[in-house]
Amino acid sequence: MLNSATLAADVGKLAKSLPPFPAIVIRLLDMLRDDSVSFDVLSHMASQDPVISANILAHANHVRRMHAQADLSDARVAASIIGINRVRRIVVATGMNRFVSAVPGGPFLFHHSLAVAITAQELAALNGDSQDLAYIAGMLHDVGQLCLHLIDETAFEKVYMDSVGDGKLVQREAAVFGADHCAVGAHLARHWNLPEEIYSAILNHHDDETVTCPLQAAICLSETVVRALDIPQSPKNRVTILNSHAVAELEIDWGSADMADLYDRCVTRYRHATQH
């Protein structure tokens, strides 16, 4: 049983059962903090990772083939073709997708996290906030569920299924495990030295009354939007409560043309990301 007084230490121990957090994402976040993302440093860093390099080459070679040019094999040259923003997004998406898909929790958690990450990134773009932070927070927002899963898989599954109809997941988790997945996930973020906004976004993503920062508002609403859009498709998708303060914080008009485009982009990007 977890308890709030020792939660940080307990989560630290549980984190040892999870894959290591991707170092390349931590380094990217450090560079963003310094506000001095050097293209040379980033492309060199990305070229050291075979999966990220392959993704960068695939994007650049797609462009070159349209011009009937030969494929490249040097990831740093390829990075210079697709540009720093694209490279950054490939680093974040590849690093986070690989991390979350490697942890125990089943395909639904990965697909749900991916849908929330894409939606949060789109909301951040609309609001002029950091798309990188939004994507990372979206991929991690339910990471606390992995720890509860590790503690007692059967109990977690029962709590989860019992809560589909009434949405009282966090209350049941707290009663059964001593802490809910939001608190556990937030402590994991702190254990990995992630930025305070990500800690806050994870901690409060089920809070329907509070707004702590635009990132938390975006994660909170992304959770609702992906369920409304039914991505991934699941009988577990329900929308019964919505954080109206988060709507006000991000100045969202659900029926606006911008939001209509956003819904379509989220569904399209999600389908594209999961069809490979």
Binding site: H67, I82, A228, D230, V239, T240, W254, A260, Y263
Partner: protein, 98 residues
């Protein structure tokens, strides 16, 4: 679906960096190799293109029926007033073509 030269934009596309507009394409414009390359460089993940293989009216009506039934399942039991606004927007949006 991958973008190919010759496809026609169904909605305008814009990109900005540091508060400055770096790309602006109008709806109705035809994609070229150059514009697709620019979309990649600007980090634009997807754009809306004109569907050259539209569904029939009866197929669309069936899709709308299924879509609305599913939405009402997702938003049950009775959503609060804030959820109702989102439900209304989703109903107006209609189903996406596959």
């Amino acid at each position: 679906m991958e973008l190919n030269p010759g496809m026609v934009l169904a909605k305008p596309v814009s990109a900005s960096s540091g508060g400055y507009a770096t790309m602006s394409l109008s709806a109705g414009g035809m994609l070229t190799e150059e514009t697709i390359a620019q979309l990649v460089v600007k980090g634009i993940e997807c754009v809306a293109v004109v569907n050259t293989d539209p569904v029939s009216a009866s197929q669309y009506a069936q899709a709308v029926h299924s879509y609305e039934a599913r939405l009402h399942q997702i938003f049950e039991p009775t959503p609060n007033a804030h959820c109702q606004d989102l439900l209304t927007a989703m109903l107006l949006r209609g189903p996406m073509p596959c």
